[in-house]
């Protein structure tokens, strides 16, 4: 509870991975730590880093089972998932 920890808060999130993203990263979920004020775009960039340069399709991000916008802010407790291009049906 120092002044420092209050100004430099971090958000720890568990990110669900599917399909090509799960395969490239080798996990069905990963823990990521982002700076307070991080957006969906920041999260996506952090996750793509984990793929270590493997080719991946562009992906959307879902927050709490809803498609999120790129500039949407993340907050602790959000259920976050990377959504590669869907191909149901």
């Amino acid at each position: 509870m120092s002044r420092n920890s209050q100004t430099r808060n971090e958000i720890r999130l568990t990110v669900l991975l599917f399909a090509s993203y799960a395969e490239a990263i080798g996990a069905s979920s990963v823990g990521v730590t982002l700076a307070d004020g991080a957006t969906v775009n920041d999260l996506l960039a952090a996750v793509r880093q984990l793929a270590a340069g493997k080719a991946l399709p562009p992906a959307a991000v879902a927050v709490n089972c809803e498609y999120a916008t790129a500039q949407q802010l993340l907050k602790p407790g959000d259920e976050v998932a990377i959504i590669p291009p869907v191909a149901g049906g």
Partner: protein, 137 residues
């Protein structure tokens, strides 16, 4: 009331039809998506479907509810299968019932379009040569 399901069970189109039919219905339109033996010219042996289940169910419910609001009097059921499917097996079945045929057909057709656009389900195609690939259509 609305029937929306996702899971490894074989889909029974008759059960979906029964779930939407009432005495007021004059028409039921069914759409059945089936695993076929080729894609983009490559021979396919089977497809493995995976889903973000909680979100897929939420999105399917949302689509049904949007279309039931938009097409007055329509009743829609949707079931998507996941797991390893062989050629000819149904991956998705949609049933839409209405007093009249045009709204039933429109609702079933709109449902499959929206499902393909929004519902987080993915398929990994297995090819004759032993390779596999995630479909990013």
């Amino acid at each position: 009331m609305t029937f929306v399901a996702l899971g490894p069970a074989v889909i029974d189109p008759a059960a979906l039809t029964a779930s939407v039919q009432t005495a007021e219905c004059g028409a039921v339109s069914l759409f059945i998506g089936v695993v076929r033996n080729r894609n983009g010219g490559r021979p396919v042996m089977g497809i493995e479907y995976t889903a973000y289940e909680a979100m897929a169910l939420a999105q399917m419910r949302r689509i049904v509810s949007e279309l039931e609001n938009e097409v007055s009097g329509v009743r829609i059921a949707v079931q998507h299968r996941i797991g390893q499917l062989g050629i000819g097996e149904a991956s998705v079945v949609i049933a839409a019932a209405h007093a009249h045929r045009a709204p039933a057909i429109t609702a079933a057709s709109r449902t499959i379009e929206e499902l393909k656009r929004r519902v987080p389900v993915w398929k990994c195609e297995h090819y004759e040569d032993g390779t596999r690939e995630w479909v990013h259509a």
